[in-house]
């Protein structure tokens, strides 16, 4: 048992390092990119890897490394906003449903059921399709779909935690309901929420890149991994590097969040 604990902790560290690596790349994008991602030089299009352009050039002669590092900014910013907004909405609505029950519970749970009846990506795709592609709409659409998972999680935990003695004692000494929820119940949810947030980050990054891949994400002037992969798939024969590098970047980031979430879940699990 000791050994598995060490293994899960190591996995967590590997995951956290991969995430930190990508966060650092995103923060220092202007210093890492050899040139502006929107500079084109059609004469050199499809050029392979070189010292000047380590990841080569794409079909417009733009630098792929520059697009990959700036793309990290979009992916991380979008997924961070979506996941944090979803956690806030999920916490408030889930607490309402779980703690106060009755009408609120029925109402909020039906809304959750309705949203979760759709496959996640499908609903986000349909919403962006009607609202029009833009970073703001991508964030709105993904929030509308992903708060439901957090709300369900919070509600379930609160149903269990509100029966605890420390909750009734907090109420007995005169704490208000919301004070009890925020100060006494929420701190117990941190572990479960962080684990789920890690998986949600992975899911949101895949969804965001998927939307940009389909041309439904940020406008073409904003470099995104999805858009880069989409232009790359049409020129696989001439310039496979246009697909390989953004794909590896996505893989590293997703792997980071999955490893971190897996490791943390096993680490917090009292059974192991």
């Amino acid at each position: 048992m000791k050994k598995t604990k060490r293994v899960t902790r190591n996995l967590m560290i590997v995951g956290a390092s991969l995430i930190s690596l990508m966060v650092l790349i995103a923060i220092f994008a202007p210093y890492i990119a050899p040139q502006d991602p929107n500079i084109m030089s059609l004469a050199d299009r499809y050029q392979g890897m070189s010292w000047q352009h380590p990841f080569g050039l794409d079909e417009n002669g733009s630098d792929v490394l520059a697009k990959v590092v700036y793309g990290a900014r979009v992916s991380l910013a979008v997924s961070l906003s979506v996941v944090s907004l979803s956690i806030v909405i999920g916490l408030v609505l889930g607490s309402f449903a779980g703690y106060f029950g009755k009408f609120w519970d029925g109402f909020i749970m039906r809304a959750i059921d309705m949203i979760q009846a759709f496959p996640n990506f499908l609903l986000a795709l349909a919403l962006v399709a009607v609202m029009g592609p833009s970073v703001r709409n991508v964030i709105i659409a993904m929030c509308l779909t992903s708060w439901a998972g957090f709300a369900r999680l919070v509600r379930g935990e609160i149903l269990y935690l509100k029966e605890k003695e420390y909750v009734s004692s907090a109420l007995a000494i005169g704490a208000s309901h919301w004070r009890t929820i925020v100060l006494h119940i929420w701190p117990n949810l941190v572990g479960a929420i962080v684990v789920n947030a890690s998986f949600a980050m992975a899911g949101t990054i895949i969804a965001e890149s998927g939307l940009s891949f389909l041309g439904l994400g940020a406008p073409p002037t904003t470099p995104t991994w999805g858009a880069l992969l989409n232009s790359g798939r049409k020129i696989l024969e001439e310039a496979p590097h246009v697909s390989i590098f953004p794909g590896l970047a996505i893989l590293i980031l997703i792997l980071g969040f999955n490893l971190f979430g897996d490791g943390l879940r096993d680490y917090l699990d009292p059974k192991s």
Binding site: P119, L122, L127, G210, L229, R233
Partner: protein
């Protein structure tokens, strides 16, 4: 059992209604006037009003909703704005290709997922287990829009083993199905492994072993049967992801199914088709989940009695 099925059906009805409601509301998420977006700014007022009354958008919301539900119950999803043919007939033309692709993907996922999951569990903490787990982690983390192009690059361009795209014989099916199957296979693998490990710890396994049974019947006759029950649920739950994944996979591989139809309709702002595709995928997902739950109850008596 009969009671359970009735109860489960009754729970599904409001969900189906919810799916229809949300799909109906989709077109009202269009910022501004949906008619302007569908026809463009240059369209004449007469054309706009004609389309508005064709889509029923000039009526009060509740009347529109009632008509929408009435039409759906008669399998009438309206008319494509682009080709003018009925949405139902366009969808039914596209269904076989998507069914073929998803069934093949499911087949690959189960073919690799379950045996590898069993091997990993039986050899827990060995090098074999670790390498299977690491591979499955990559499987979960590889999005289809990266995996698909890489499969094309490696198996169609570098080593010309398979044709790149379009529907045809079995060889055309391999690459798209594999690219769709990998994440699902990885999830099935992990679930099978976890459940097998759970079962191996149980008392009845110890009894079977103390009777002198060898490894093979213990794992396959006793543990596997119980371990697979939750795996069925996971497979059912993943059908939604599989169906949605077809939007990306079919686009990459030029596969003439529902997924590529949806994307094409989105690009042409053909909202009746978008609605039709979304409704079709979501309802399929709801119904698959219903059947999953029922079959789960058939194999696991604990569920239907609680």
């Amino acid at each position: 059992m009969f009671n359970y099925i009735i109860r489960r059906l009754l729970v599904t009805l409001p969900v189906i209604l919810g799916v229809c409601t949300l799909t109906f509301l989709l077109i009202h998420f269009v910022p501004g006037d949906p008619i302007d977006i569908m026809l463009g700014d240059q369209a004449s007022t007469v054309d706009k009003e004609a389309l508005r009354s064709q889509l029923g958008l000039n009526q009060p919301l509740l009347v529109q909703y009632k008509n929408f539900l009435w039409q759906i119950s008669h399998l009438d999803l309206g008319q494509s704005l682009h080709s003018k043919s009925s949405v139902t007939s366009i969808l039914s033309e596209r269904i076989p290709a998507t069914v073929e692709l998803t069934v093949a993907a499911m087949f690959f996922a189960i073919l690799f997922g379950i045996p590898l999951g069993i091997i990993a569990a039986v050899k827990q903490y060995s090098t074999v287990d670790n390498s299977i787990l690491v591979t499955s982690l990559f499987g979960i983390s590889l999005p289809g829009f990266f995996l698909g192009p890489m499969l094309i690059w490696i198996f169609a361009i570098l080593l010309p083993l398979f044709p790149v795209s379009e529907r045809g014989g079995i060889e055309n099916l391999v690459l798209p199905a594999l690219s769709l199957a990998l994440p699902l296979g990885a999830i099935i693998l992990r679930m099978t492994r976890t459940q097998m490990l759970e079962e191996i710890k149980q008392d009845y396994i110890r009894v079977a072993r103390s009777k002198g049974l060898s490894d093979f019947p213990v794992y396959f006759k006793h543990a596997l049967r119980n371990a697979l029950i939750p795996v069925i649920t996971i497979i059912g739950l993943q059908v939604g992801a599989l169906l949605t994944g077809t939007v990306i996979t079919e686009t990459i591989f030029d596969w003439p199914g529902i997924g590529s139809l949806l994307l094409q309709a989105i690009q042409q702002r053909d909202y009746p088709i978008v609605q039709g595709c979304v409704l079709l995928i979501a309802l399929t997902y709801v119904i698959v989940n219903l059947f999953t739950d029922i079959s789960y109850a058939i194999v696991n008596p604990k569920v239907r009695l609680s």
